[in-house]
Symmetry: C2
Subunit: 375 residues, 2 copies
């Protein structure tokens, strides 16, 4: 039987643990390490698929099981011919399982061995997500990579809570694997949990690896902990993951975290940050964040980032983009979203080159110096 | 001295009073009759200049003196190299004088012979617009066509109020002409007022024509009056306007009004309608309006309009666009704005062809039958 998702290792950086690779999917290849733009509701906020391909140069995007289940409904998306056809994106898609969202957005959630009962953030209606239900939804959506249903522990959580939660997540992953119908077209990834306890991370990794899933993710970090704690768990957990499969760090999108993730040996990251801060009038640039809506940019005739090759930077001044943001004009959000996403995909293109050149550590140091601050 | 704006009559429809012509401007030619998209705040809402050129096929856009004066300020736009450079639109621009806006948006306005004192809708600050001030602003903005400062009477208004207001508008037009500095690069258009009194319309037209301005507009109709009243004044006033100059009907953008305007001999129209109804989830189509956010389109796998050649109609279903609108996603507004504008420019392309074929009356009847209703 053909596997939906396979990983090919091209080169390991001699300065770091970073991997240069390719993920093969039914909708094409993904050069890694990569940053994946998030399209929660079957659209990467404010942008078209063509802009994502031609300007952002995105190779894969994310979408969300929780949101699409509630609206417009996974059966409707299935009728449309799946998510790729519904939103006219013909490259790879990854769907998150909704595990994180039912905990962060759903009200009055109730967790049992069976699954999670929660109330919709849209209308308060009651719903039950079980591993079986989530697989049904993700099979309907038809993404290339689908995530197992997991519990993302709050930070901080006690050892006992975290252990129980992690073990349940593993049992849920087994149920996901048993239910997943579409293994030739969709690869099911397991999510390593275990909070900030290394022995639990190790147990989670081992138990999930035993399921021989086509890829693995680290969940439950970058959830509010100090950076040292994040790095400690990242650097401990990543080497536990199979070398011959993709390694995905969930919910990370600041430039420094992306670089550190690559150095640790991570292949894939995602985050809503670039589009979210765009809506607040903020740009990521090679010299740090620029809050373009601030008065200081009123008569700034420079582009957002003079090192950037995106449409926004090639055509518009900070002064014009500031005007658009202040006047609540959609074009302002569009230009900032496009730029911020391109900034991160550009960064990862560079990271891939520096891995090939065995120079990632030097690049990190230069980048940090110029970027001027670390989140 | 070169004139900024000239009009060339190509053909007169034998079935109607419609004119097929070309307006020559410093930023290129405009094929008429034409619908002009509105970019109030130096952006046509949600769209890029490239989309306007390549998808909407817009030949000229409008922007607004009142809004740009208040934010970001006309001096800032002048520093940016003028409006064309500020917003990266290299085709013709027309700026409205703010006459309509100080009456409809400004609070606590006070009209004197000198001008209009008003409070900003943004921060309540006090401002005085005089013909001289408006010319200063429009000269700074640098549009190809600039409108004289006028008073747009409320509907209904008494004969006496309308007469006084119209005569003042003429005196203001004289002051505009005397102040306008940039006549080789910017053509000043007069605005015929006179409400719904034909003798006042006649007087206004004659007095303004005596100023030998490069173009004329009809203001103060399509302001809430019944359609018969609109048509009566339109059909009475248009033939009073010079044949050798562009004729502009302000604030009209429903398909039937556009067709009637062309039939009456109008060359240019503008309206915020297509982008405004887009933001409410409504599409203009060849079979009438489609309120795509309605539940009836939930599983409609057809394009917005199967006769349309725009990007939205070539790529997306009503079901997907409905999902975007319901989920408050910007891409929904973008696709509907693009489509609605293209619908109107497409309509006017067709009107131009039908004028050339001396067939506009037949086309009107066919269009109305298919469109299914008249606004």
């Amino acid at each position: 039987m053909n596997k939906a998702i396979t990983y090919e290792l091209l080169h390991e950086c001699k300065q770091t643990g970073a991997r240069r690779g390719v993920i093969h999917t039914p909708h094409g290849d993904i050069q890694t390490p990569i940053f994946m733009p998030v399209g929660t509701q079957a659209t990467v906020k404010s942008l078209t698929p063509e802009e994502l391909k031609e300007e952002v140069k995105a190779q894969i995007i994310l979408s969300n099981t929780y949101h699409l289940y509630l609206r417009p409904g996974h059966k409707l998306v299935e009728e449309a011919g799946g998510l790729h056809n519904f939103m006219k994106w013909d490259k790879p898609i990854l769907t998150d399982s909704g595990g994180f969202q039912v905990f962060s957005l759903g009200e009055l959630r109730k967790i049992t061995e069976e699954g999670v009962e929660f109330k919709s953030h849209l209308d308060g209606s009651k719903h039950l997500f079980t591993p079986e239900k989530v697989m049904e939804i993700e099979n309907s959506l038809g993404a290339d990579i689908i995530m197992a249903f997991d519990e993302c522990c709050p930070y901080p959580s006690t050892y006992e809570y975290t252990k129980n939660s992690m073990e349940r997540t593993t049992r849920w992953a087994i149920r996901c694997k048993e239910t997943h119908k579409n293994i030739e077209k969709q690869g099911l990834f397991g999510i390593i949990q275990g909070g900030f306890y290394k022995d639990l991370r190790k147990q989670s990794a081992e138990d999930l690896i035993a399921l021989d899933l086509p890829g693995y993710a680290i969940g439950g970090i970058s959830v509010g902990e100090p950076k040292e704690t994040f790095l400690d768990i990242l650097q401990y957990t990543t080497p536990l993951m199979p070398k011959e499969k993709p390694r995905y760090l969930m919910g990370v999108g600041t430039p420094d975290y992306l670089i550190e993730a690559a150095i640790a040996g991570i292949d894939m990251c995602d985050c809503v940050l670039p589009t979210r801060i765009a809506r607040n009038g903020t740009a990521l640039t090679s010299k740090g964040k620029v809050v373009v809506k601030n008065a200081t940019y009123e008569r700034d005739w420079n582009p957002l980032d003079d090192e950037c090759d995106c449409y926004a930077c090639k055509n518009y001044t900070r002064a014009y983009i500031r005007h658009l943001v202040k006047a609540n004009e959609i074009l302002g959000v569009r230009l900032l979203s496009l730029h911020n996403l391109r900034f991160l995909t550009n960064l990862m293109e560079r990271v891939r080159i520096e891995i090939e050149n065995d120079n990632l550590l030097n690049f990190r140091n230069e980048f940090y110096q110029k970027y001027g601050y670390i989140d």
